[in-house]
């Protein structure tokens, strides 16, 4: 950038036209504190990037979002988390179970010897070493800096390698054309989808929809930053025995289970 050689900063107020334009651009690029306004034409004003925009900060590499499911609190037959996910992200059954979306599902486990059953939600486990991202030929499957594993549908070609690579069957393919998707959860025919850990809510500082719904009926799911030892979730993980599903695979899931 040629402007880089100029000595005046974004807030120099040197008054020149170039200086004024620079003010806006610098502010934007550096996320600067100053708020400058540039009048382009009558009625059209450009505001430089402001400060108190927590949302604009982006994914924090120091964090790792994760969940802890206390299976003993998960009520058999309750599908509150699944319903909440459907409502939040706008997916529903297509009437064809073989090709239904699989953002989150309730799985019932049964010990054949004792007959004891356990019920637990299974969704994308947001692995630290996601196999879906490893196999993706276009870079559409990726892990965000804060550990959330997503599909960038702008790059997804619908090859479904990630679906085969995922040990948790956490992804599904959209077979039919859709309309009126949720603005915060775009999804469309010919692309792969899965749990986003409600990334649009997390970026706003709100817990995922399933966690919120579960808190009203059992409170089995806990959400938080598992990279921060002071967080509530980390303390529980450090205190009690928890496990990762198929932890032997070495993919280090961000979703842990207790009392499974």
């Amino acid at each position: 950038m040629t402007e880089g050689s100029q000595s005046c900063g974004g807030s120099c107020g040197c008054g020149s036209e170039a200086g004024k334009v620079d003010e806006g651009r610098r502010g934007f690029l550096a996320g600067a504190v100053a708020t400058g306004a540039t009048a382009l034409a009558p009625g059209v004003t450009l505001f430089a990037y402001g400060t108190a925009e927590a949302e604009a900060a982006g994914a924090d590499p120091k964090k790792r979002w994760g969940m802890l499911v206390d299976v003993s609190k998960c009520v058999d037959g309750c599908t509150g988390c699944v319903t909440a996910c459907q409502t939040e992200n706008g997916w529903k059954t297509t009437g064809k179970p073989a090709t239904d979306p699989q953002w989150i599902r309730k799985v019932t486990l049964r010990d054949p010897k004792s007959g004891a059953t356990r019920s637990a939600p299974v969704m994308c486990q947001h692995c630290a070493e996601p196999p879906c991202a490893d196999v993706c030929p276009t870079g559409a499957s990726f892990k965000r800096a804060d550990g959330i594993v997503l599909v960038d549908r702008h790059r997804c070609i619908g090859c479904r390698y990630c679906m085969m690579a995922c040990p948790y069957k956490a992804r599904s393919f959209v077979h039919e054309a859709l309309e009126d998707q949720k603005p915060h959860a775009p999804r469309g025919m010919g692309t792969v989808e899965g749990c986003t850990l409600c990334v649009h809510r997390v970026d706003k500082g709100v817990a995922p929809a399933c966690v919120e719904a579960c808190a009203k009926s059992g409170g089995a799911i806990m959400f938080g930053d598992i990279a921060d030892p002071k967080s509530e979730i980390s303390k529980v993980i450090a205190t009690y025995a928890t496990m990762q599903i198929r932890g032997d695979l070495g993919v280090d899931p961000g979703v842990r289970y207790r009392n499974l």
Binding site: V21, G24, R25, G27, F28, L40, A41, G43, V44, L46, F47, A48, Y49, G50, E53, E55, A56, A57, G58, A59, F142, R144, A145, D146, I148, L150, D152, R153, H154, A177, L178, E179, D180, Q181, K182, P183, H184, P186, R187, G188, M189, G190, T191, V199, H200, D203, K204
Partner: protein, 157 residues
């Protein structure tokens, strides 16, 4: 071939050319060049002047989508969502037109230019119906506009 016949041919060609050019000029003056009918937006002003938007909206959207999806750098009100909310076209029944209608804001120009737009294979092409009627035409927050405007400025250079 005689000299005369080639001269005659030249005259025919030149007069044809002149007629074509004249027809074009007269046609244009008579308002026969069709232009797209672009629906008006609901809010006051856009993030950038119309000529910048016409030329650069695709780059702005592409820039914004990578920030949102991959970096998690979101803007309040959303980027594409902000455009959709402001440029919604009423269907006369209390709702808004989807991209399946030729009256849809994006389609008005894209049909004219014969450019396929595939945003709406995944994104909703009309605003989400709001519970509160007062929110339906809520203004796009300044922060959302600011980021786009700055980018527009950069692209326009």
């Amino acid at each position: 071939m005689s000299e005369r016949s080639s001269l005659e041919r030249l005259i025919v060609v030149v007069s044809l050319l002149v007629m074509t050019v004249l027809a074009g000029i007269i046609g244009a003056h008579a308002g026969e060049v069709p232009l797209p009918t672009v629906p008006k937006a609901t809010a006051g002003s856009c993030v950038a002047p119309p000529d910048v938007m016409r030329r650069s909206h695709m780059s702005m959207l592409q820039h914004g989508r990578d920030l949102s999806v991959r970096q998690g750098e979101r803007v309040e009100g959303g980027r594409l969502t902000g455009c959709i909310d402001c440029h919604a076209v009423s269907d006369g029944k209390g709702g808004h037109e989807t991209v399946s209608s030729p009256q849809h804001f994006c389609r008005a120009c894209h049909d004219y230019a014969a450019v396929k737009v595939d945003c709406f294979e995944c994104h909703a092409s009309r605003p989400e119906p709001k519970v509160k009627a007062s929110d339906a035409t809520s203004e796009v927050p300044a922060s959302a506009l600011a980021a786009l405007a700055d980018y527009a400025e950069e692209v326009a250079r």
